[in-house]
Each structure stands twice: as C-alpha cells, then as structure tokens.
Amino acid sequence: MRAEVLKGHLDALLLAVLEEGPRHGYAVIEALRAASAGRFDLPTGTVYPALHRLERAGLLRGRWSTVGGRRRRTYELTAAGRRALSQERGAWKEFAAAVSALLEPAPWPAAT
C-alpha cells in the first residue's frame, strides 16, 4: 500500500505500534509490516521523520541507549500519546462505520 494512502492515518498507526512497548525506528517499520501482513511497507523517509514529529509534539518520548556498541534511539508513548491514540481509535471507528454503511451492499429484503 502506498505511503500517500496512509498519510492521514500514519500517526495513529505509529502510536498503535508503540502501544505495546518501546521500539526503535527500524523495529517500528518491521512491526507495521508484520501487523499488516506486509501491506504497510512504509519507507524510511516516512517513518523516521514522523517519529521525530510525534516526539516534538510530545506524543512520544525518545531515549538514547547503546546496544552492541551502537547508539540506538528508542521511542515510547507518553501519557499525551496514549490519549491521542484513544481519540484516533474513536475517530477511526466512526469513520469506518460511516464508510462501511455506504460502501457495503445492503442485505436483500427477506422474501415473504
């Protein structure tokens, strides 16, 4: 699936992937890919800058650590991030229900 299609939902997807616990940038990309059975194969140039933006917005907290001699930045949800994810979930359910009501064929009336 193309990154543009996901543009409006990227923040919610990233927050959802980090709900289970802290992850570094590449682990976020892999988790998105795995959870969507390969459909959300987002490019590096989309995921990393979005993580930085969410951190600046106070929805994620980034921490540096050293793993195997390498510097690693790990992200986790803040309290504001959890609230934002909850709001995004609610908005998505409303949107999906409305779209489904329009797109899914209505059941045939039962024959009398």
Partner: protein, 247 residues
Amino acid sequence: MAGGDLAGSPAAAPAPSVEGWLTDLAGRLAGPRRVRDAVVAELEDGLLEAVEARTAAGLAEPAARAAALAEFGDPATVAAAFRPGLAARQARATVSGLLRSGPLLGLCWGATLLASGVTPWQRPHAGPLTVALPLIALLVVMIWLAALVTFATTGRLALRRPGSAGADSPQQVSTDVRLAAYAAAGAGLVCAALDLTGLTTLAWFTATAPGAVAAAPAALAAAASLVRLPAAALASRRCLAATRPVG
C-alpha cells in the same frame, strides 16, 4: 549488446557501503548540527539492523547490505523527508540562541551607559541616544514578536493541530514551518541591526566626545556585539537555507 555487461557496467560496480550512504545523507541534511548528527546515528542503527535481519535470514553480507540500502531508499529522498522537521528545529534553535544572548548584550550596553553617566536627557551628550534608544526598544519588540511566531508555529500545540501531520512533504514544507523559518531569520537580522545600532552609537560618541564613554564596559559591549552580529546574520542564513529543497 554483450559488451555492455562487461567491466564498468552497473553489475560490476562494488556493492554500496552503509558508511557511503550515511555520508551522502549527512551532506544533504540542513539544520542544527546536534540534530543532524542524531539523525545520522539513528539511521545508521536502523540500516545495520536491516542488514543483520537479512543476514540472519540467510542472505550473504553484500546482498543483505544492498537490500537494506535499497529498502532505506536514496539519501536525497530521505534527506528531503527530514527537511521540514530540521527547518523547524533550526528556527527554534536560532530564536532560542538570540533570546539567550539578548540579556547579556543588554547588560553590557546598559552597564556602558550607566558607567559613562550618559542618558538621553543629558545635554550636550544626548546626541544619537535620543534616536538610538527608541530604535533599540522597537527592535527588541520585533525580536520578541518574531520569537513568539516561531515558537507558536513549531510548538506542541501546532504539531497536534488536526491536519498538521500531512502538512509537510519532501516537496513543500508547511506554511507553519516556512513562517517559523522566516520569523527566525528576521529575528536574526533584527539582532544584527540592534548590534549595529549599538556599535554606531558608540562610534559616534568616541568620535565626537572622547572620554565621555567608560572605556572598559564599552570595549566589552562592543566585543560582544562584534561576536553576535555575524553569528546572528549566519543563523538567519541557515534558517532560510534549511527550508530550501535538498540538493
């Protein structure tokens, strides 16, 4: 043509290196050095993770490296994606630096005035002070307004505003970030004008009323302004450069 597949063809080229990719990326990023270094370090870890994931799956190292680099994309595209965020960070860093230096400079010039006993209402030495002091006050207000614009357009509230997530793209930084960059660049230029006003006033006093100005604080204030003036101008240039398309 058969000859096209011989030495010199893309197939014969050595596998690209992670270091080369990172160097290329680093050369294309604009913004505060500390942030740029952090971006490169983070992507280095991600790239090496991607290589290790492939070698663990059984791929040979050169093939794993080539596949990981292909997954990360070309450095120009990645650098372009970081451009809006780095431009915002550059604008905020510039304004923060200017606001931190302001009180120090104000203290130096204020001490010069107090030590010299020169005030705008004091004749015959009032001279350019009657013009310089209101001008300085106006410039300081302009700097604070520009700082407010920069912080407001790049702060948490702006980033959490609905629709802000998709506002930036590699081709076009958002209006907010562009406004922040222009405001920060403007604040830098106004700071430079402020320093120039102080230096010009000092030069006038030195030329027309030798001995009227306390030498030690005046020298300190002049030195501080001579350091900040080019630094503020350079910071302004960096703010504007950070919004330009990645080369």
